[in-house]
């Protein structure tokens, strides 16, 4: 039974349609990557699943319950402004526990345990301003995982990190995810990241956001994205993605004058 079911979801902002009839089922314990050009509604879709916005049409269910607001078992992690600068690392991790009505002491104890589990205990009394970008995201992940969420939603979580840190964080995510058994939906614009992490890649078109392609990636971890099958897949998705980017970035007249898409798309497909 799928954990998250998205049925005929549209999201309008005034006259602008950000998402158009999205249907998607996300399996329990899977890792799904949403890929698409800027402005394709990836983040909107994530916030709809998180219950931070309501769909204009259609509905989303988690575990069979319709999402009507933020749920305790669904946590969203952003790229920026994740940790609260005015709380120590320990207090940040305890934040969600306090909101669940746990006592200050019990929250702190569990937060400390979680930080010990992931090797961040020496930094418990630091403030986020003293941490590196990668470490901030590790704390953000610890803060989500301490709540034992069923669904973990991540909006370009490693987007602001340098290439090397990002690779390490991807491996970090895979290993912590296996222990947590959470269902992850991750937004990224980095196709290689999607190929390295995801069981399923969902490609969205530019505004309005529609599902263009849903691809299962059956390869076992750890993956090498330069491996034959994955490379074929990457080339196909890249062709699609560039086509979508070109369509959202350039006007129709420009595209007919400068054959950007035809060349790239034609060369890449198969």
């Amino acid at each position: 039974m799928p954990e998250i079911r998205i049925s005929g979801v549209c999201r309008d902002f005034g006259h602008h349609r950000a998402l158009d009839h999205v249907d998607l089922a996300v399996e329990h314990g899977s890792l799904t990557a949403l890929v698409g050009p800027t402005g394709c509604g990836k983040t909107t879709l994530l916030e709809l699943i998180a219950g931070l916005q309501d769909p204009s049409r259609g509905h989303i269910t988690i575990d069979g319950d319709t999402v009507v607001g933020p749920r305790p078992d669904t946590i969203l992690i952003f790229q920026h402004h994740n940790l609260f600068d005015w709380l120590t690392v320990r207090e940040n991790v305890a934040f969600g526990l306090r909101n669940r009505g746990l006592s200050r002491q019990e929250s702190r104890r569990r937060a400390t345990e979680q930080l010990e589990r992931v090797g961040l205990a020496p930094f418990a009394d630091r403030v986020p301003g003293e941490l590196s970008g990668g470490m901030r995201q590790r704390v953000a992940l610890a803060r989500a995982l301490v709540l034992a969420p069923k669904v973990l939603l991540m909006d370009e979580p490693f987007g602001s990190l340098d290439q090397q840190t990002r690779r390490i964080m991807q491996r970090y995510l895979l290993s912590t995810w296996r222990d947590s058994k959470a269902t992850i939906v991750l937004v990224t614009h980095d196709l290689d990241e999607a190929l390295r992490l995801a069981d399923r890649i969902v490609l969205l078109s530019a505004s309005p956001g529609r599902l263009v392609e849903v691809v299962d990636v059956p390869a076992p971890h750890p993956r090498n994205v330069d491996d034959g099958r994955l490379r074929l897949l990457r080339d196909r998705l890249l062709g699609h993605l560039e086509e979508e980017v070109a369509l959202s970035e350039f006007a129709g007249a420009e595209l007919s004058a400068v054959p950007l898409v035809m060349e790239v798309g034609g060369g890449r497909s198969e």
Binding site: L52, P72, T74, L76, W86, P122, G129, L174, D226
Partner: protein, 293 residues
């Protein structure tokens, strides 16, 4: 390619956090204090030297060696009868006026700004009202203040209050409105809502912006009270300086000016120290540099 995935990189050598423990970080920094003392000594020496060399006319710009002893001997009184103003009384009066007016104005601005931010329908009416009140120069309130409260403490406090309350309200609305949406969404996703969301996330996130507005408000308040005292609310430091000029007691005028500068500086430093204490996280880590000015 890359590292083999069984490498446990996340448990790998963590940089020792003992390096910059609390003791090392909190060491007192003498450089700004030395700079401040040096600047005053330099200014005083140049002033004295200029007066002795005859470049500065001591009758118009009496040097510290003249106005400081003068203050001690005469207790700096000018004026006659009901208009008599003494230095010490003037100083106390002005400090109390600005402190009360500033406290009330900042407090009202904070409360009004928070309410306007929290209630969209109130914001639609309240923000335009504040936008009309804010550009009225504080001294423009003086005639009204004197009519309402007479010449005295009430009028001075009113002028200070009117000079800062509206702009403080707008600054609070702006600071609260500028809180990144991700903070609020993260907090809601982690189960925070209602007044707890305000208290634990929105207000702390807006606090640096509000603190800057508070500091700027003090300068406006300081100018308001002095201008008010010069322009009709007799008594206080502003009035002392004006009376000194009218009676050509330039030593008193100079003493007044130096006092005004020094008091303003002390107030501003106190606000900065309070900010560092309240927004303690700013002085730690990468952001320490930004808040130092």
């Amino acid at each position: 390619m890359g590292l083999p995935s069984n490498i446990r990189i996340w448990r790998a050598p963590v940089a020792s956090p003992t390096r910059d423990g609390a003791a090392g970080r909190r060491r007192f920094n003498w450089r700004p204090v030395a700079g401040l003392a040096g600047a005053w000594v330099l200014l005083g020496t140049a002033w004295e030297a200029g007066a002795r060399a005859g470049i500065l006319n001591p009758a118009i710009l009496p040097p510290p060696s003249q106005f400081i002893p003068y203050l001690i001997e005469t207790s700096g009184a000018v004026g006659l009868g009901v208009n008599k103003v003494s230095y010490a009384t003037a100083l106390v009066e002005t400090v109390i006026r600005v402190a009360v007016g500033f406290g009330l104005g900042v407090g009202a601005g904070l409360v009004a700004g928070t309410l306007l931010s929290a209630l969209p329908w109130a914001r639609a009416v309240g923000v335009p009202v504040a936008q009309i009140l804010a550009p009225i120069a504080p001294i423009a309130w003086i005639p009204l203040a004197i009519v309402l409260f007479g010449t005295g403490d009430g009028a001075a406090v009113f002028v200070v209050f009117m000079g800062i309350a509206a702009s403080m309200t707008l600054a609070t609305v702006a600071a609260l409105g500028g809180v990144p949406g991700e903070y609020i969404k993260s907090a809601r996703s982690l189960g925070s809502k209602g007044w707890r969301l305000w208290l634990r996330v929105i207000l702390p996130a807006a606090a640096p912006g509000i603190a800057t507005a508070v500091r700027l408000s003090f300068f406006a308040a300081w100018m308001s009270v002095l201008a008010g005292e010069m322009a009709g609310i007799n008594s206080g430091l502003g009035s002392l300086v004006i009376l000194g000029q009218q009676e050509f007691q330039m030593k008193l005028v100079m003493a007044g000016l130096v006092t005004i500068g020094l008091l303003g500086f002390l107030f501003d430093r106190s606000l900065l120290l309070i900010r560092r204490r309240v927004l303690w996280w700013e002085t730690r880590g990468a952001r320490a540099v930004a808040s130092d000015a």
